[in-house]
Every structure is written in C-alpha cells, then in structure tokens.
Amino acid sequence: MTNQKQPVRPAGGPGHPGGGNMMMMGEKPKDFKGTFRRLLRYLRPRKQALTAVLLAAILSTVFMIAGPKIMGIAITELFEGAFAKFRGVPGAAIDFERIGNILLLLAGLYLVSSLFNYVQQYIMSGVAQKTVYDLREDVNLKLEKLPLKYYDGKAKGETLSRVTNDIDTIGSTLQQSVTQFITSFVTIIGILIMMLSISPVLTLISLVSLPVSIFAIRPILKRSQKYFADQQRTLGELNGHIEEMYTGHPVVKAFGRERRAVEQFDAVNEELYEAGRKAQFISGIIMPMMFFIGNISYVLISVVGGILVTQRAISIGDIQAFITYTRQFTQPITQTANIANVIQSTVAAAERVFELLDEQEEVAEVTTARLESAKGAVTFEHVDFGYGEELLIRDMDISVEPGQTVAIVGPTGAGKTTLINLLMRFYELNGGVIRIDGLDSRKMSREDLRTTFGMVLQDTWLFNGTIRDNIVYGKPSATEEEIIAASSAAYADHFIRTLPEGYDTVLNEEASNISQGQKQLLTIARAILADPPIMILDEATSSVDTRTEIQIQ
C-alpha cells in the first residue's frame, strides 16, 4: 500500500493545540480496573525502584513543606529582636546565634529535599523508559505473530497510532505525572496542616479563592471550547484543501489554476486565523484570571494577616510563611484537578495497546516435515476457505507439476489473490490440504514454505532506501552482478540507469519518485533475485505494458 497518499495525521496525541491540559477531555476506558491492574503489572519488575521513588518523593516534599514554617520562625526571631531594640528595651538585640542555627537547619533541609527530589527523578527516568521499552517490545513481538487477517482488516494508521502515540502517552504519564501526583497530594495535605496550624482564619480566606476561581473560569472555558472547535474545523478544511491541491498538482498546473488554488487557500487560511486568534485569546486569559484571583487572596492575606499581627494573634514570620504556602498551593491543586483526566486518557491508551496485544495470533507452527529444496509441485485437495463465515472457495482441487506455468484468470473478486494468500499460508484453510511436493504445507515451517515461493504482488511494497537495497531484500548476500542480472531480467536495468543516482537512487517515503509500472518491475527483480522454485505473479504486471510483460515471462 505504498502508493496510498494519505497524509499521516497523528491520531490521539495532544489535544487542542495550545489549549493546555485543562481542556483535554479524556476518553473513557472500557474496563478501567482490569486495564489499570495490567498496566501495574508492567511496573512490577521495577517494584524496588518504584518504592525508592515513592519514598524519595514523600521525603523531598515533606522537607520542602517544613521550610517556610522554619523560615517564619527565623523571621519572627529577627522581628522580635529588632522590634525590642527599636523600642529601646535595654540589652535587647537580635539573637544572631539562634537565627544562624535556624538558618543552618533550613539550608540543610532544603539540601536534603533537593537531593531526594533529584534521586526520585533520576530513578524514575529509568523506570518509565524501561517500562515503555518493554511495552513496545511486546508490541513488536506481537506484530510478528499477528496473522495477515489482522493487517488486512485494520487501518495501518490506527495500529501505528497505538504503537506510537498511545505508548508515548503512557510513557509521559509515567515519567512526569505519577510522581507529580504523589508530590501534589503530599503537598496539599502538608500545606493544609501547616496553614491550619498557623491560622484557621487565613486558611479560610485562601481556600475561598478556589471555588471562586472555578466559578470565574467556567464560562471562559466554555467559550474557549467553542472557539477551539471552530479552529479545529477550519484547520481540517485547510488541510483538506492543501492535500487536494498537492496531490492534484499536475492537474492544477496543467489547467493553470494555481491562482484559484491560492485564492481559495487564502480564504480558508484567513478564516483559520480568525478562529485561531479567538481561541488562543480566550484560552490565554485563563491563566491571568487565575493569577488575579490568587493575587486577591494574597492581598487579603496581607491585610488580614497584618491586622492579626497587630492584635498579636499570630507572629510576623507566620505571615511570611503563610504567603509562601498560598503561592505554593495553587500549582498542586490544578495538577490534582487534572489527575482524573490524565489517568483516564492514560488507561484508555493502555487499553488500546493491550487490545492489540490480545489479538488472536497465527496458528503455531508444527514442523514435522522439512522441505529442503522444493521441486515445485503444488496440489490443492478439497480446499475450503472463507474470510468470514461464508466460504469463498469450496472443495477446490488443483494440481501443478514442476516447470508448468499456471495462469489464474477471473473477474475482480473471484478469489485470485485468495489463492495466493492460501499458498503462502497468510491465511489458514477451513478444510482440505495444500501440498508442496506432496508434503502438507501446514506440517512445515512457514519459513521453509515461503522460501519456496517468489511472490510479486499487485501492490508493490518498497521501503525508504536505495533501489539496490530494495532489490536485494530477498537475498541480502547478492553480488553486484547478480543484482544487475536480476534487474535486466525484469527489464528494470535501463530505467534504473535513467534515475538521478542509478541503483543508489533513494526512494522517498512514498516511493513516489518512480512510476507504478517501474515499482512493479523492481518488485519483479526482487523476486527474481531470490530465485525461488515457485514464482507467483499476482497481477504483478498490471501496470507494465504487455510487451515487457511477455519478455519477462
């Protein structure tokens, strides 16, 4: 399917551009509990490391939270001393020895906290990436075991997105979110305790700002969702236009429609600009709004706290501590508010990956027969087969002797390609036997079976590499002479030499720099080079002209 020119659109992945996590609506997993447990199983081999991470995270946070309170004590000490001195109390002075000790303790606390923080992140990077590696490796191994039925039935983009985007999501959650959740949780509890111990009244003031900000932000959020939807829609429209104009480039040029294409593009582009500008603007004021509300509570705390100090209800250092706590409070709150979303989308991603891992595998090999070098006799005996419930082939008998050329003719959908699928054992029979040189094809290894065939498909798959690499795909040890001989036999040598770099021309990712017919010639050369006893050409020459076709045969 190399010639499908669909642009790769990242499925899943980050949600609205620039909208931030706040607007991400996580999709719901079907079986949350089961998937979550299964995901945990991947972490099991790294249990010890994880425990260390947990411990380090908790310790680091606890030490960090203790900081402002102790700092407050130092400031109060300073204030009392200075205040007494200011009022001229005899012998009053700032007790620098005590303050020095407190500050040393504080410095030690911060040092330890940072150390634990580092340890935690350092260990976690290994844990997260290795887990992702395991997951990816499991998927890779699985891909090899999946029957062709799976590949034919599923869109490539979807499978690709499971293997890349979904695993990426899991990885970044492990890397960042997991420890973030732990520290956020500990921070919130810790700060609450500290705040309450300083002053319940001030705590109430700073807590009130939370519902207020939710209240204030909700309508903005709603508006912004609408604008983001607009932006998404126009972006889709624009991308559609780009795709169409690029794939239709020769026609656009031939009919001199470049100007019209550009005009249309400009119109949609302008629309996108308008929609995007609004969406970005609205989403851009969410943060300032939150800061604003945070600042209001800061002001209130300064005022009320100041009054409380004059009444000797709390100490001056406590205000300093309190202000620091409120500043540190908002971040973990927003983070925890997102937990539900992040966990949900992570588990949903994991579920999609596990679904892939649970797909039915190819029937296991039974290798009781060895096929050293086949002579090339093929027989179908009472073969039954169907892709679904309904049988497409019923009780088919075919017998081919070595050296014979057999043509399979029939209209589209008659099952020509199916025969090849069965011969190569891409699909399993429903009944009957296929024999190669008299041996049951199910009794030999797939490798033996497939070495026997050289297959040239209607659909020409070439990969992103040089022409030479593509030709030697079936026989990596081939010499230069063999390569040229095979290409000449496939009538590909001449056109290869007309390409910019000859045999070293790199095919681009869609192999669009050569024509369909040329691709087929290359795949034929590839099959010829592999030199198999049985050669299968599945409409291999449909894009090759008849004369070349006859010459190849």
Binding site: M1, T2, V8, M71, I75, L78, F83, A93, L103, A107, Y118, Q121, S125, V132, Y133, R136, E137, L141, L143, L148, K156, L160, T164, L235, N239, I242, E243, E244, Y246, H249, P250, V251, A254, R257, N269, E270, K278, F281, G284, P288, L300, G306, V309, Q320, R327, F426, R450, M455, N464, H494, T498, P500, E510, S512, N513, G517, L521, D545, T546, I550
Partner: protein
Amino acid sequence: MLKLLKRLGVYKTAVLAVVLLVFLQSMADLYLPTLMADIIDNGVVTGDTPYIWKIGGIMLGVTALGAIASVIASYYSSKAAMGLGRDIRRSVFNHVERFSLQEFDQVGTASLITRTTNDITQVQQVVIMLLRMVVSAPIMFVGGLIMAVSKDAKLSLVIVVAMPFLVGAILLIFWKGMPLFAEVQKRLDRLNLVLRENLTGVRVIRAFNREREEKVRLNKANRELTDVSIRVNKVMAGMMPVMMLVMNLTVVGVIWFGGMRIDSGAMQIGDLMAFIQYVMQIMFALVMASVMFVMVPRAAVSARRINEVLEMEPTMQDEGVRKADRERGTLVFDRVTFRYPGAEEPVLSDVSFSAKAGEVTAIIGGTGSGKSTLVNLIPRFYDVSEGRIRVNGVEISDMPQEELRSKLGFVPQKALLFTGSIADNIRFGKENATIEEIEHAARVAQAEEFILGLPGKYESIVEQGGSNLSGGQKQRLSIARALVRKPDIYVFDDSFSALDFKTDAALRKALRSETEQATVMIVAQRVSTVLDADRIIVLEDGKVAGVGTHDQLLEDNAVYREIVESQLSEEEIA
C-alpha cells in the same frame, strides 16, 4: 527556527504591545510585595489598622491593573502568533504552487503536505508559548532585580552571587540536554519509520522470510530510543532540584544578611519580606523560561523542514513573454533530450516529430520507455535538457507558463478530481464555461449517461479524491475537463486504460469531430487505441524506434510488431 521568527517583524506593533503589557503586568506583580512591606513596616509595627486597609485597597487596584494588562497582552500575542502561522502557511503554499513536478518528486507529495500542515502548526504552537510565557521571563527577571536593588542595593549582592550559579547550572544542563533532545526526536522518527514499513510491508516481509531481520531492526530502533530517552531524562532530572536549591539557599542567605542589615538599622523587616518574595519571583521566572527548552527542539525540527521547502527554488524559470499564436494547433519536438540531474542515462534522447492541427499522434512503448516523460515535457512540467519544443509555432520557454497551459488540454494518467460538484470539476478546465458547454463536453467524453444516472446529476458531489466514482467514470470526467477548454493541443496520457473497449471506441470517434482544429497526442498501452492514429511514435528506451501509421510500422518495425503481437490475435492483425 530563527529564520521563521524573523517573520514576526510584520507584527512589530503587536509584539511590542505584548512586551510592553507583559512588562506592566510583571511590574504590577512585583509591586505587590513592596506594598505588603509597607503594610508591615508602617501598619503592623505601628498598629495602624486603617493604613493597612488603605494599602490593601491599593494592592487590589494594582493586581487588577496587572490582570487587565495580561488580558490585552493575550489578545496581541494570539494575534501575532496566529498571524505568523497564517503567513508562513501562505508563503509555503504559494511557493509550492510554483514548484514543477521535479520538486514534487524530490520531496514527495505526502511529505510536502505534512510540512504545510502539521509542521507549521507545530511552529505556531511554540510561538504562542514563546509570547505567552517566555517573553515574561526576562522582564520578570530584570524587573525583580530592579525592585530588589531599589529596596536594598547591598542585599542585592546576595542575588548577584547566586545568579551565576543558577544560570550556570541551567546552561550546563541544557548544553548537555539540547543535543539529546534533538537525538530523541530523530530516533523517534526512525522508530516510526521502521514501524510503518513493517505494517505496510508485512506481506513482502513474510514472503521473503525477513521477520527475524525486521525484528532486529525494530528492536534496535526501540533500544536506541530508550537509551537516549533515559539519558535525556536523567540530565533533566537535575533541573528542578538544582533550581529549587539555589533559590532556597538564596532566600536563606537573604535572611541572614538581611538580619544584619536590620540590626544595623539599614533596613526594615517588611522590606526583608518583600525581598524574599522578589527572589522567589525571579527564580520562578527562570523556571518558566526553561519550559521553552523542552519545546524548541521539536519545533526546530519542524522549522527546518519548512525552511527546506521555502529554500527550494523552482528549477523552472517563468520568464517568457511571447504569445503562442503563430501556427495554431501545431506541436513540434526538435531533437529533444531529457535527463534527470545526475542520471547516468537520459530518459529521452533525440526525439523529433511535428504534428499539425487535426492530426492524432500516438505514442506507444514499454514501461520506462519515456512515454509519460515525453508528454510531461509539453506543459513544461519538466524542462528539456537539450533541444526545443514548439507549441503553436513558439518555443515553450519563450512564453509565460500560463499562456502555454491555456493552449493545452491535459488528461493525466491518474484521473485526479477535486471536491465539489461534477459541474465544478468539468468547469475546472474553463472557469466561465456555460452549462451547455459543460454538457457538451460530458457528452463527447461519454460521461453524460452516468452523470444523468446520478441522483444530483451535474450537481452531484464528488468526494475527496473522487472516491465515490469508479476508475472509468473518473477518467471520463477528467477527459471532459480537458474538452471544455477547447484547447489547441490535447494530451492524453494513457487516459483510456480504465475504459472498456466499447466506450474507448465511442469516445475516440466522438473526439475526432471535436478535435479537427487541434493536435491530439495520445499515450497508449493498447494497440487498439492507436490503430487509426495519423502518426504512431514507437519509443524504446527513450529513443524513437519508429514513426509511421499502423500499417507502415507493422511492415517495417520489429519493436512495434512485437507490441502488436503481444496484444492482438492473428486475425486482428491481418
């Protein structure tokens, strides 16, 4: 990246406004601690509650001002960022529209599409973040410093001492991290490429028993990505702890030295508290700025890919000024040779022929013999390497491309249609075509019957890529599109292949009367299509192996005879 950012110059005012407003907002944020210091020093110490309330009121005013500034800043920043995205998109699209097929071959259509869509979106995202967060970092930083110095210049020395440590640590981490980030992106792309190839090529991989090698390839890509990801994350693990540590230790230092300043009466307690908050604000600004480093490498990759497109100059110059009106309906190839740059052998060599109005010239030859290349030279999709091509008696490089193409009706090998109605698609050939002209073209192209069979007739919608039509229907529409132009030269590049023999014959008959004033070029695989051509050119490996009518060639051309024999049965030949 920088190169693209220069385009922000157009939005100078908006960007300037953003910087100014962010500055205002930062100053407001920084002014709050000063006011709080006043509350402490003048209100709390003296027990003056009304003063505390008054200052509190001012603080509310300041914070409201800051909020308003940042809302307006958001307005301008989204304007500038989205505007930039729009401009880049427009210039890339405009630029690509000027590309010849050679540039398309070079980059690949799908890649061009991703570059114009996803890559630009990626860059736009980063610019938004840049304007939103990163701009404020240096302002906050400098503003914080100014405020700190104004509070107590001597105490600011603590910050001055701490700063090199912090900046040094950040730079060190990024100096080590940046190349790793780029590497992660590279290896991720690699893994995705290998994966995609494994998914699309599964049949071939299994047929050639290459599962083991592919598994090794996948494993290698996976392991390499994991290794570098772990490395980058370990480096980045130091980031936050180091920044927090420096910040906290600075605060500790501020309290210690501030205490001494207070002791000597040079400073008040409230000022110290304000000072501590400045230090925190400065440090947080730096943390915010560090976000940029995570995003920029990603965007830099996209930016590079965009720039590659923008820097690619179309190989073809559109400098001709002559009108193509000397001899209507004539086409001359004069010793034309074409080779791809760097190719060992030319695709076409020394091709000459000339065709007059009312004549049909057919080109036949094997795969890779250069048939499609030959017709692609006529609309100047590629420029000839040697020799010249004349349309209507004028050399095609002497006329504007638009003039040249207005004389041509081109029907490509692949029937490319566009989203829109059937009528729209036919009208693509002639913008102001009347409905009669469209119907006539459809009739000649043998498309009328199936169009009238559709529920919406001529207004039926063609889906993207024409996926709701059959191959033969698409080909007929693509022929009608060329017919409605009433051009001087028709080019059919293997355009009858999806038609059954009956339709093929009927269409060619109808074409005859339609094209009396024009030259017709037909590239064909089927001999039956070219039987009655006035002139058949047989191509073999890019060279003309013979020119003549069917009967002449059958007589004296071995290559042609082989082609004919491979297709027609004995009696048909005779």
